[in-house]
Each structure stands twice: as structure tokens, then as C-alpha cells.
């Protein structure tokens, strides 16, 4: 996507079964999560995941704008997933395109499945995701960042929401595709898991897989989500754990 000039389909798997960045099929890219980097938001998180850089912020629960979106019995969860113009190889026109709007919708619905929105009737919980640098899997990275930001904002919810994409490259099921694998692979299956219940609250698919491949992909994705879940929790612990202040015993 966005590369200039047609390129030949690269070899995505080595004879040894390693991927172009040396990963095994069931291996995640490196992930770093920081909770609470922003000052203005009620909650925030920054996620670096492979070559993705994604910032998320949460505002609310707060008064609903525009007002007609207000719901009498619960908070409305509004999500805005946006890509910075410079986040992809070919400059993206600023503003929400149809893809961004669709992703915003499915992410909002994923969070509606876990947030205890009925505690805050007639309010809005606004989830903002800014993709600063994209390299496949930005909706999952955005969802992970937003989930940590929601916890950082003190929003009550059933669980954190880890997310990851599984795909198919050179006929093999692989965890967490990077850009070349996404562009030239045969399938992409992003998902978000509620770890505590084992259920999926975001699930999309594009490409082709047999039912058997899909079944294995789901297992691989769930296993990947559990690893990411631990990193999300660690990021929040790092921010909120009690420590001894240096010089505090004066």
C-alpha cells in the first residue's frame, strides 16, 4: 500500500520458516506501552508496536456534544481513530476517510462491550486515537492504547482489551503481520479479546482462509492477546504502583 511503483512480491518466509524480520510465525513484534503521557486528557497511553506509533487519549465521562447523541440510560462511547498525514508512506489527506470512520465504529463498539456505561447516563466517554506512524496493525495498536487510556482515566469496565491481528503469509498462519506481510499476505484477521471471559469483541477479516486455518488463527490470536494483556497491565502498574520516594525519609 502506498509504495511508489509496482514491486515484486517479496519472499515472506525463509526456508527455515522465519519471517522477513526474523520472527517465528507465532512471535509478536516488540511492544512498548506507556500509560499517562499526556497532561490535558483524563487518561492517555502511547504504544510503540513494531514500527507503529500510536497515541490514545480519553476525555470523560463528560457532557455530550452534540447533544442529540445523549442516551438516557448510559454513557455514549465516541471513538475517533485518525491517521496523521505523515503516518504512511504516501501522504494521507488530513481528516477521517471511510476506513477511519469504520475503524472508529468497530473500536467504539468493542469498548461498549466492556465499559460499564450505565454508571454515567447522559454523558460521553470520548476515545481519541492518533496514529503517528503506521506499519500494519494500527487498529489493534490503537485499541490497546485506548484501553490503557480508559483504565488510566478511571473508567469502570469489565476488563482491559488486548488486540492483535493474525494473518496468512506464504500459506502459513502468522501472528501480528507487519506492513510487507499485510500488503502481500493472503489474509488479515484483527481481533480484540476480553481475557477474563475469553470472548472476542472486535473481529474483522479480509482475504481467504479455510475454516481450519481460521480456527487455528483464532487460537493464535487469543494466545497473542494474552501476552499483550500482561504488557498493558504492567504499563498501568508502572504508573500507579507505590514506590519509595528518594529522600523521602528525611
Amino acid at each position: 500500500m502506498g509504495s511508489v511503483g509496482a514491486k515484486e512480491v517479496p519472499v515472506l518466509l525463509s526456508p527455515e520458516g522465519l519471517r522477513i524480520d526474523g520472527r517465528k510465525l507465532d512471535e509478536l513484534r516488540p511492544i512498548r506501552i506507556r500509560a499517562g503521557p499526556l497532561h490535558q486528557a483524563d487518561g492517555s497511553a502511547f504504544v510503540e508496536w513494531g514500527a507503529n506509533k500510536v497515541m490514545a487519549a480519553v476525555y470523560g465521562p463528560r457532557e455530550v456534544h452534540p447533544r442529540h447523541l445523549q442516551q438516557n440510560n448510559k454513557a455514549v462511547i465516541q471513538c475517533r481513530y485518525n491517521m496523521a498525514a505523515f503516518s504512511v508512506d504516501e501522504r494521507k489527506r488530513p481528516g477521517l476517510d471511510r476506513r477511519s470512520q469504520e475503524i472508529s465504529k468497530v473500536i467504539a463498539e468493542a469498548f461498549e462491550s466492556v465499559v460499564f456505561a450505565e454508571e454515567y447516563p447522559r454523558t460521553s466517554i470520548d476515545v481519541y486515537i492518533e496514529v503517528l506512524q503506521a506499519n500494519a496493525g494500527t487498529r489493534c495498536a490503537g485499541l490497546v492504547a485506548a484501553s490503557v487510556a480508559l483504565a488510566d482515566a478511571g473508567i469502570p469496565m469489565a476488563d482491559l482489551l488486548p488486540a492483535v491481528a493474525v494473518g496468512k503469509i506464504d500459506g502459513k498462519i502468522a501472528l501480528d503481520l507487519k506492513k510487507e506481510e499485510d500488503n502481500f499476505g493472503e489474509a488479515d484477521l484483527p481481533m480484540a479479546l476480553v481475557p477474563q471471559s475469553g470472548r472476542l469483541v472486535l473481529l474483522q477479516m479480509e482475504g481467504h482462509m479455510t475454516p481450519e486455518e481460521l480456527s487455528r488463527s483464532l487460537d493464535l490470536g487469543v494466545a497473542g492477546c494474552k501476552v499483550i494483556y500482561e504488557k498493558m497491565k504492567q504499563a498501568l502498574r508502572d504508573r500507579y504502583a507505590t514506590t519509595e520516594l528518594p529522600g523521602g525519609s528525611a
Partner: protein, 287 residues
């Protein structure tokens, strides 16, 4: 949200019983199972399939027969009886809308004000941007927050300034039996009124206000850490100067200032609702 059964409403966890020392409390995250608990799910928790889980990021606190989680972050969640500081955001014909840092704006009806306000003349008494100390009177299922300005220590704030901290830090700001507030005011010569919503009014000389702001900023940013009390004390002592004691009048030369005299008595440092017995209030003593 359809999963699980939840009992009780979440509150900011201000209760009657005395909690164990803060250092023993466990940090829990949304979705984490609260282990080995025969206790019933209270605020900040929920039950699913016979187990109890945390629903918010916070500190675990058993309050038999319940287990609760005291949030460590988030907006102010109003509780009847709380004293809070509001900023006027709108003047309607028979009420003002106040931003009290809660999820919703709170209407202050003219009958809850000390003035006899003619219909449509609300903005003659309170303008957008002005600050008031009010008490939360009622909470409706719709999320509507009823507040009043009638009562001791309530009214319009005419001078000084307002700073905001996380509402979760208010017990640390107050300290055990008000010790932190007393220490700050004694060192700086400022006056302090603490709103349970995380807004804190500071009066006194510009220098006193500035040092108080700095002490409050330290508490806000480092409030969960051990050694904070000593650190704040050390800051306050290091900036002590002779002649700092006792509030001075704020210079009255700005065009923005009303000519209205200060009509409020200094507010109580510890609004009753958030009293020193609340969970977390002990923290200052232990750290």
C-alpha cells in the same frame, strides 16, 4: 454492558471504617480477579460466574461484608453531602450550570442561592467563569446533580485562586485529621478550602499562594508514593521565610476584579463528607 451482575453503586470510596495502612493495600486493574474473597462485590468491583473482579484501577479495600476498590484516577464522582467548588459555565433564566469536574454539569437553582433572583437575571449575581462553593444535595438516576449554595462555608469565591488536583488525591491533601492542610497553611500563611471534587481554593499573598500551589502539585504528582509527607514538609521548611506568616491582602488593581468585598468566612479545611477517617486519609501519616 451485559456481562455479570454488579451490586451497589461505585463511589469514591469514602466510608466510615478505618482502613489498614496504605502500604498494605493492593493495586488492582479492571478485570483482575480479587482472590480468595468470600466478600460481596462492593464499589469498584463486579461479580461474574461466582468470582469477584475489579472494575476500576485502584486500591483493594475490604469493607466487610463487601470488598471495594478505591479508584486512583478519574473524574470526580459526586456524593450527597460533598462540598465542592464549581465554575459557572452557563446562566439560564432560573438556574446556573456549574462545572464541578464531575461527568455532568450541575444545575444550581436560584432557590439554592442566598439571593432573591428575578427570573432572567441570574447573570447579575453569578457570571460565567465565576467560582462558588456548593454542597451536593441530591443525585438522580438520570445523572442529574443537585447542588445548593445555602449552608455554612458555602458561597461565592471573590478572591484567591483555584487549583485542581486529581479527586483521588484529596485524602492526601487533607491528611490525617487535616494534618497536611494544617501544615501547608502554617508554613505558607495561606488559607485553603478543599473541595471533594479536586478543586482547592487558596487565599493569601501571591507568595503564599505560590508555595501552596507547589506543595499541592507535589501531592498531586507523587501522591501514591511513600515518603511524600516528608518531601512536602522538606519543601515547605526550605521555603520558610520570616514574615511569611499570616495572609496579606491580594493586590486589588486588576480590571478583572470585582469591587465586591470578601463575603465568605474561610472555609473549613476538611469538608465533613471527606473527613479524615475516609480511606486514604491516613496515608500521610504512614508514608
Amino acid at each position: 454492558m451485559s456481562q455479570g451482575h454488579r451490586s451497589g453503586h461505585r463511589s469514591r470510596g469514602r466510608g466510615e471504617s478505618s482502613p489498614p495502612p496504605a502500604r498494605d493495600r493492593v493495586l488492582v486493574l479492571p478485570g483482575e480477579e480479587i482472590p480468595g474473597s468470600a466478600l460481596r462485590p462492593g464499589a469498584g468491583t463486579y461479580r461474574l460466574g461466582g468470582k469477584v473482579y475489579a472494575s476500576v484501577l485502584g486500591l483493594l479495600e475490604p469493607k466487610p461484608p463487601f470488598v471495594t476498590v478505591i479508584p486512583l484516577s478519574g473524574r470526580y464522582i459526586p456524593k450527597a453531602g460533598d462540598t465542592v467548588i464549581g465554575i459557572v459555565t452557563d446562566c439560564q433564566t432560573t438556574f446556573w450550570l456549574l462545572d464541578i469536574a464531575a461527568p455532568r454539569w450541575a444545575p444550581l437553582h436560584v432557590t439554592g442561592s442566598p439571593w432573591k433572583v428575578e427570573v432572567g437575571e441570574t447573570d447579575r449575581y453569578l457570571r460565567v467563569g465565576q467560582a462558588v462553593v456548593v454542597r451536593v444535595e441530591s443525585l438522580e438516576a438520570t445523572g442529574r446533580i443537585g447542588v445548593t449554595m445555602l449552608g455554612d462555608g458555602l458561597g461565592k469565591l471573590e478572591e484567591g485562586t483555584i487549583v485542581s488536583v486529581s479527586p483521588a488525591r484529596i485524602p492526601r491533601v487533607v491528611g490525617r485529621n487535616g494534618s497536611m492542610v494544617r501544615s501547608i497553611t502554617a508554613h505558607t500563611g495561606s488559607q485553603i478550602a478543599v473541595g471533594q471534587n479536586g478543586r482547592i481554593w487558596i487565599g493569601g499573598s501571591p507568595e503564599a499562594i505560590q508555595r501552596t500551589r507547589e506543595a499541592l502539585r507535589m501531592i498531586d504528582e507523587q501522591g501514591q508514593h511513600r515518603g511524600l509527607t516528608a518531601r512536602v514538609e522538606s519543601y515547605l521548611s526550605s521555603t520558610d521565610r520570616p514574615g511569611d506568616r499570616g495572609p496579606e491582602r491580594v493586590p486589588v488593581e486588576s480590571a478583572h476584579r470585582d469591587a465586591v468585598p470578601h463575603e465568605l468566612p474561610p472555609l473549613p479545611a476538611e469538608p465533613d463528607a471527606g473527613g479524615p477517617d475516609g480511606p486514604g486519609a491516613d496515608d500521610a501519616a504512614e508514608y
